[in-house]
């Protein structure tokens, strides 16, 4: 299974990939995660790859090979489209964050991304920010998205819940479980 997580530096994509990685181990798979640290974490495009299966060699995902893409932001969703397997699924948070070239007027933020992507592939677009607020904090966006993702994999829900409990700091467990459920039950 090849899962690609894309977003903007600072959005919490690393936590999402780490939860996903732990889930895959618990489910008994070989796992590799490729993360991005350093420069691009400063508000740039960030991509992490999570791959699991009987045996995983390369930690990266080529174009056309992601079974699922989890996008934290719409422009990043658009950018990631070529990586999706034909017939794969994309889950996207409808949040839009302007990149600097758009802010300075050197480029335009593409209009109607959701519509354009939907024409080409199976897209589930969700206002995860709103759901995170409902759970108690916008910071839980990543866990809402993890909930959505969980629904699209064949790993038992129990394993996801267990992993979240083990991964997030104790005082935030309830909040994060709530965020997960909100994503999962859409």
């Amino acid at each position: 299974m090849n899962i690609m997580i894309v977003g903007v530096g600072g959005q919490g994509t690393l936590l999402a990939s780490r939860i996903l990685g732990r889930v895959a181990i618990k489910a008994g798979f070989d796992v590799k995660i490729s993360e991005v640290h350093g420069m691009s974490q400063r508000g740039g495009s960030v991509t992490t790859y999570v791959k699991y299966g009987d045996k995983v060699y390369s930690p990266i995902i080529d174009k056309g090979e992601a079974d699922i893409i989890l996008a934290f932001e719409m422009l990043e969703a658009l950018r990631a489209v070529p990586f999706l397997k034909i017939g794969g699924k994309m889950i996207a948070n409808t949040q839009e964050i302007n990149p600097m070239p758009v802010i300075t007027g050197a480029a335009k933020y593409p209009a109607d991304i959701e519509k354009k992507i939907s024409k080409k592939l199976n897209l589930q677009a969700v206002d995860a920010l709103a759901l995170a607020k409902q759970a108690g904090t916008i910071k839980a966006v990543n866990v809402v998205l993890i909930g959505l993702l969980a629904k699209s994999t064949d790993v038992a829900k129990q394993i996801w819940l267990e992993t979240i409990r083990e991964t997030v700091p104790e005082k935030f467990v309830d909040l994060n479980l709530k965020a997960f459920e909100l994503g999962y039950n859409i």
């Binding site: 780490r18 990685g21 640290h37 420069m39 390369s58 930690p59 080529d62 593409p110």
Partner: protein, 579 residues
């Protein structure tokens, strides 16, 4: 139980299991997390050194003193530590000594993509290269055994995709390593010409033995799949090759990339009709194969540039086209990294741009000042270069120009290698102005302490470099301290200092907005009130939270941290803070 670990975390684990007790490093992506993970092990002495050269020297001292020691750096850090490294190769060690060097093909976070294997050859130092986290742990331990057995420092070569990928590692118990005796041995440890001449003989004897070892070591292994096509590869390229080609070819997987195994390569190639060398960056293995008369296919079909992918290997070796993918009719605008909302550097660049100065820059978060809309940095090169460059251009173009040529350099970078540049500037009578951008942390690499922060890597309080006294001691008489968010004050100081016929230092001081203390200091967010006349002055700050929507200026409250810089630049008082 097996655990998911970053490659870097696994190297730290390997160091712990090997009985390492001293680690000295300078941060640099993608190597930083090795040293940060060492902190987990209470019995290891670990430190951030001011730069890589010092770090290497500390590790050398510890190893000479009988401990197993380590120093970690990114590829360009190896340039800085090269001097001690070349000669410790001659001296040899006592306790095991390993230098971990992380290359960054594709330049995710670097200013070049140099191939560190050339250093192994040039300095005659054994180099191991792991392919995943499991091997990171294993090879680290092996490196110490080989270091002590062959009396040599060892390089562990890492790669962004190995350092920053997580895979499974089984944790083992540490070995019981005892500090070896320290004996004075000038014949071995004092590199006078007479001793060095003898040492060089030992180095060549050692290399001959290691070349033999390369043919027999377990980490160089053949996977015979009964194919007529052979692939010689190492590191992450091995993983890409396995993914792309599976069992359809034979592999010679090299865990030891220097010295290379002559006999093993010849034997492997003899059984194949065609042999590919798959290695990112330079044709290091390929050139060796040609030298020993083995005909291989390498850089004639594979690029010298950037990272490889399984798809490109499949295409070149099997002639199989990459899988189809969905194409969008519209390009997504790029999203380059930006200074964070609240970044202190933003104020500095805003002023530098206003004044139209020629800005000689350096490496750190503040390098982002080169990007639009601030576009206020003319050059950068390597850590510390800002001061030397500004001095040089002043000497070339005369003092009138020198008054417009300022250096900007971060606190960590100044300590790393800016101090010597400043000494040179003063000693050789330049009149330039140097801005030390003191954000109280090493920002770019993810918040490491340094000698100006007052804390060690373990967050113990320690002496703090006093930048003012330091600059005074160097001979700078004109020193000022300014807050970069005090736009008026910084403008005034810069005008005054650049006009002077003497060197000046301006310490531009405000902590990084992501530091916990600052997260507490800033609160709420800024809003644009109806006093806004749409002059868009605030847009020149390049703050990710401020944008224009249909002619109206807006502040995104999810991004704004209420730092208040925009409030300071608004000429109409139209920006206010809200809780």
């Amino acid at each position: 139980m097996k655990k998911l670990m970053l490659g870097n975390e696994a190297v730290a684990r390997g160091a712990y299991e090997a009985g390492v007790t001293v680690v000295s490093s300078y941060p640099g992506t993608p190597s930083t997390e090795i040293t940060e993970n060492i902190v987990k092990y209470d019995n290891i002495y670990v430190e951030w050194a001011p730069n890589e050269k010092v770090a290497a020297e500390v590790a050398v001292g510890a190893a000479t003193g009988g401990a197993r020691a380590m120093s970690c750096m990114k590829h360009v850090g190896l340039n800085v530590m090269a001097d001690p490294v070349f000669t410790i190769s001659y001296r040899g060690i006592n306790g095991g000594l390993v230098f971990c060097v992380a290359d960054d093909p594709g330049m995710h976070s670097s200013q070049n993509e140099q191939d560190s294997r050339h250093y192994a050859e040039a300095a005659k130092i054994l180099m191991l290269e792991p392919s995943d986290s499991g091997e990171c742990r294993d090879f680290t331990k092996l490196a110490y055994e080989l270091s002590e057995k062959y009396d040599t420092p060892v390089f562990l070569r890492l790669h962004t995709r190995v350092s920053h990928s997580q895979s499974l590692v089984e944790e083992l118990e540490p070995v019981d390593y005892r500090l070896k005796d320290y004996e004075k041995n000038p014949g071995k440890n004092v590199m006078t010409p007479a001793n060095a001449i003898r040492a060089h003989v030992r180095v060549e004897e050692r290399m001959a033995k290691l070349s033999e070892l390369a043919n027999t070591t377990d980490v160089n292994r053949i996977e015979d799949n009964g194919s007529k096509i052979g692939v010689i590869t190492s590191g992450i390229s091995y993983m890409y090759s396995k993914e792309a080609l599976g069992d359809s070819v034979n592999y010679l997987k090299l865990g030891m990339v220097y010295p290379l195994p002559k006999k093993l390569i010849k034997d492997f190639a003899a059984k194949c009709d065609k042999v590919y060398v798959i290695e990112e960056l330079d044709p290091f293995i390929e050139n060796f194969c040609r030298q020993i008369g083995v005909d291989v296919i390498g850089k004639d079909v594979f690029t010298l540039l950037g990272e490889y992918t399984p798809a490109m290997i499949k295409k070149q070796v099997l002639g199989v086209d990459p899988v189809e993918n969905i194409v969008m009719d519209e390009d997504a605008p790029v999203r380059p990294p930006v200074m964070c909302a609240g970044c202190p550097h933003r104020g500095t660049y805003y002023v530098l741009k206003k004044l139209g100065l020629n800005v000689f820059g350096d490496i750190g978060c503040y390098t982002l000042g080169a990007n639009a809309p601030l576009s206020a940095m003319d050059t950068n090169l390597c850590m510390g270069a800002a001061i030397g460059e500004a001095h040089g251009i002043g000497k070339a173009r005369g003092n009138d120009f020198a008054k417009t040529a300022v250096s900007v350099i971060g606190d960590s970078t100044f300590i790393h290698s800016g101090i010597t540049g400043l000494i040179n500037m003063v000693y050789n009578k330049s009149i330039n102005t140097v801005l030390i951008l003191d954000n109280s942390i090493t920002g770019m690499t993810g918040h490491q302490d340094n000698p100006t922060t007052g804390y060690t890597i373990r967050k113990e309080p320690t002496k703090q470099v006093n930048l003012i006294t330091l600059c005074k001691g160097i001979g700078v008489d004109s020193i000022s301290v300014v807050d970069p968010f005090d736009v008026k004050g910084l403008t005034k100081t810069l005008k005054e200092e650049t006009a002077k016929e003497e060197p000046s230092v301006i310490i531009v001081q405000r902590p990084c907005a992501l530091l916990p203390e600052m997260r507490k200091t800033y609160s709420g967010h800024c809003v644009i009130t109806d006093k806004c006349r749409k002059c868009k002055m605030c847009m020149q700050l390049g703050c990710p939270a401020i944008s224009v929507d249909g002619g109206t200026v807006k502040i995104d409250t999810t991004q704004c941290n209420g730092c208040g810089l925009c409030e300071n630049v608004c000429p109409f008082g139209a920006i206010e803070k809200e809780d």
